[in-house]
Symmetry: C2
Subunit: 470 residues, 2 copies
């Protein structure tokens, strides 16, 4: 576009929507009380775009697979970043985690026939998968679309590789819903197939894009089921394999995976805060997870969440905004293998005497905010943030509603903390999620900064006002 | 992130917001009436993601500078695409446009001194700029931050290159507002400097990113002012030049520009439609512009707008949705040099007997929708679309308000058409706008498709209901 009166158009939209909000009693007061703070956070945040620089630093460590040396290096770096930003009580807290090692890169190919050469398939071991026997394994393949189909195979699965090929339903507008509707294949597919005698599984990558990047992720071996090797296959390769199996139902695939589980090791969460001026034992927590998958540096998942939380506190600190209650950033370890970091944090003896009133988790990618989920329905936390929705709208937050939370803060929410989450645009998230595409360059500095500013507002307001009834 | 109950969180948000809408009288009826249509458009659109394929086709022509052979090829291709999609009355309409030629790529460098070598600057001629004399020009540089500062230079500008270096204000949340606050330097800077005797201007690129890509765009020579060469300088190079001038106030820059204006030529708008079943002379227009700048293929600006409009009609056609009034797609020529295509369309004798009731323009990038601007305040068009806002929210449309329109449809709006525009996320737009970065890969297929679906809903509903009082 060239030039047009863009400002007028947006102003018109904002004006039109304001009356609906102003009708809520107390809303104008609250908005007036926090307008100046929000404005200062906006100007400082957008001028500096520091969240992305924090993200670059975290990602400079490399992939941060739980239990790896890089994950431990990331903890040490995080403590440095927190101290450098002026946070207080900066420390690590131990977490016992599993250590899974991918080993050498996975290989797979449809075995050659007299009529055609071998056809390589882009694959990556699922997190937690055992390896194949020395030299790999070669077996015919049976394609299914669901766990039920796999279970129904019965003896027909014996000695075969079960190939889960149900795509995420791209007709759904909400990508997380499409992901949730397909992820059972990855999480539970190996054990379902193993119970029918399968020797391995291939799982279509969980993405809308039909490219050649495999997307890894955790699998869960069920007790009692044989532990068989499991790999994600890139979506384009899954399409190709599916088409080939219709032509050659007895085609055989060779799979070489090198994964192994190496037992338990001690890792850590990283913690820093701005201590409350009046009630330091009441805590508003902003969390992300420091571990990542190992096919990339995990920029969106979830260096972005850690960077946004740190930037939120750094902005408050820079502007001299110390609220009555404590605002704490926690970079959790081991979200990807099951949330042991979140559980260890909640169960730590250090929590004695502390009361977490809000537990926000940022783990949906570093994209532009589109909404804010906070508190239980009817809660004062929700009411207080809803009263500020006109102040939040310029940052992209078009709706404030109940909800929020996530894997890492679930134990705190179970103990009474109000959950919260900035909801970013999710349309591109699964393009990069758990794949080699989740790079620093894929995170937009302004979009991430907008998340950090919204987190800073959330944290400041609720640490100032608390979550009790007005 | 790993897995969490994402669906529940979003459902909670939606439920919370519904009552505000349901209070409007008539809203539940309207939503019920169109729920099935919206659902079919959603499923067909997202399953196919065809808007992005249309965009790829349009961009396959290459950069489509107004008056160029590529722009004419794009018109021919557009007619093919429209016919192929089953549109009716597909035709082109002539537009007389200016033809500006960039010629060889621009060059600029800070001249060497005894102490340092020459320092190259990444520049691109502004659209419409005259060239430099043979061999270029070399002159000292004076940096200013505004047109007023340039005018105040008076004789101090004589014989110099005036360097406009006021960045877009990154503290503003709304990128279009930041753009609007800085674009006067590009549009009017040359003439303002020329009146003070400057020999050329350099203008800082209009982007938030500090990279080495110059961003071009139209300049306007004022009658009576000498026409001097004008170039955009990449933001990183502008920073560097500004810093150097503080060390070396008499530093000289050599500039070689090869642009020239080659008079008037005849180009065309491309038009296709779904004729209304009852009132074919009443028209809901969906427009974008087919011309682009020449540093890239103009994927966001504005192949995206054309592709979204075409896909909206193609979806209606595929689903057999022929509304009572006509829905028309228009790919306008020459938005970038001033909107001659829009004026020619409105003034054409072909408009006799036609009444444009809605004129939507898509020219804000192919990003995920965040809002819908439609109609004048209090208009029936606005009321009707507001009643459907719960149906539109899953596509990202968090707010429906008055506004919309743009350069190309302004003449139709002036004659009474209700303006409209899908408002996309604008945060990344100026990163790519008018630069080499505006590529096909920069447009996300799902995000663009969501725009197309919202346009299809808008067009169908208003072509079915009209814009008269209920």
């Amino acid at each position: 576009m060239r030039r047009q009166n863009a400002g007028a158009l947006f102003v018109a939209l904002a004006v039109c929507l304001a009356p609906a909000c102003a009708r809520r009693s107390g809303a104008p007061d609250a908005a007036a009380r926090y307008r100046d703070v929000v404005d200062r956070l906006r100007a400082a945040g957008l001028a500096g775009e520091r969240a992305h620089r924090f993200l670059e630093r975290i990602c400079s460590v490399g992939p941060r697979l739980t239990g790896s040396a890089e994950a431990d290096a990331a903890v040490a770096l995080s403590l440095e970043l927190m101290s450098g930003a002026g946070l207080e009580n900066v420390h690590s807290e131990p977490v016992e985690v599993g250590r899974w090692v991918r080993g050498r890169a996975a290989e797979a190919a449809v075995a050659p026939t007299a009529a055609r050469p071998a056809l390589p398939l882009a694959v990556a071991a699922l997190g937690g998968s055992v390896g194949t026997p020395d030299g790999g394994l070669t077996a015919p393949v049976v394609e299914v679309r669901s766990l039920d189909e796999a279970a129904a195979l019965g003896p027909k699965a014996a000695g075969r590789i079960v190939f889960y090929n149900r795509p995420m339903d791209r007709r759904l507008t909400e990508p997380f819903a499409a992901y949730g509707g397909a992820a059972d294949q990855r999480v539970a597919g190996a054990s379902a197939a193993a119970r029918s005698g399968a020797v391995a599984v291939l799982v279509r990558s969980l993405t809308f894009r039909e490219d050649r990047h495999p997307h890894t992720g955790m699998l869960r071996y069920e007790p009692g089921a044989p532990e068989i090797p499991a790999a994600a296959v890139a979506a384009a390769d899954a399409d190709r394999l599916g088409a080939l199996l219709r032509e050659e139902p007895e085609a055989r695939v060779t799979l070489i995976l090198d994964g192994r589980n190496e037992g338990r090791v001690v890792s850590a969460n990283a913690v820093g805060e701005i201590a409350g001026s009046e009630r330091p034992d009441e805590i508003v927590l902003l969390g992300g997870h420091l571990d990542s998958w190992d096919l990339s540096v995990g920029a969106h998942d979830d260096a972005a969440g850690c960077a946004a939380a740190l930037e939120a506190l750094a902005l408050l600190r820079d502007l001299g905004l110390r609220p009555k209650r404590t605002v704490r950033a926690v970079f959790f370890m081991d979200e990807e293998f099951g949330g042991t970091g979140g559980r260890a944090y909640a169960a730590s003896p250090l929590r004695q005497g502390e009361r977490h009133i809000v537990a926000a988790e940022s783990d949906r990618g570093g994209f532009v905010p589109v909404g804010l989920a906070v508190g239980r329905p009817g809660s004062a936390a929700l009411e207080r943030m809803t009263a500020l929705r006109d102040l939040l709208r310029p940052f992209g937050v078009a709706a404030v509603g109940p909800g929020g939370g996530g894997v890492d803060v679930a134990p705190l929410v179970a103990k009474g903390a109000e959950p919260a989450a900035v909801l970013p645009n999710a349309q591109p998230y699964f393009d990069v999620h758990h794949s080699a595409l989740d790079t620093v360059a894929a995170v937009h500095p302004r979009e991430l900064e907008l998340q950090a500013i919204v987190l800073a507002v959330l944290a400041y307001v609720l640490a100032q006002e608390g979550v009790g009834a007005p």
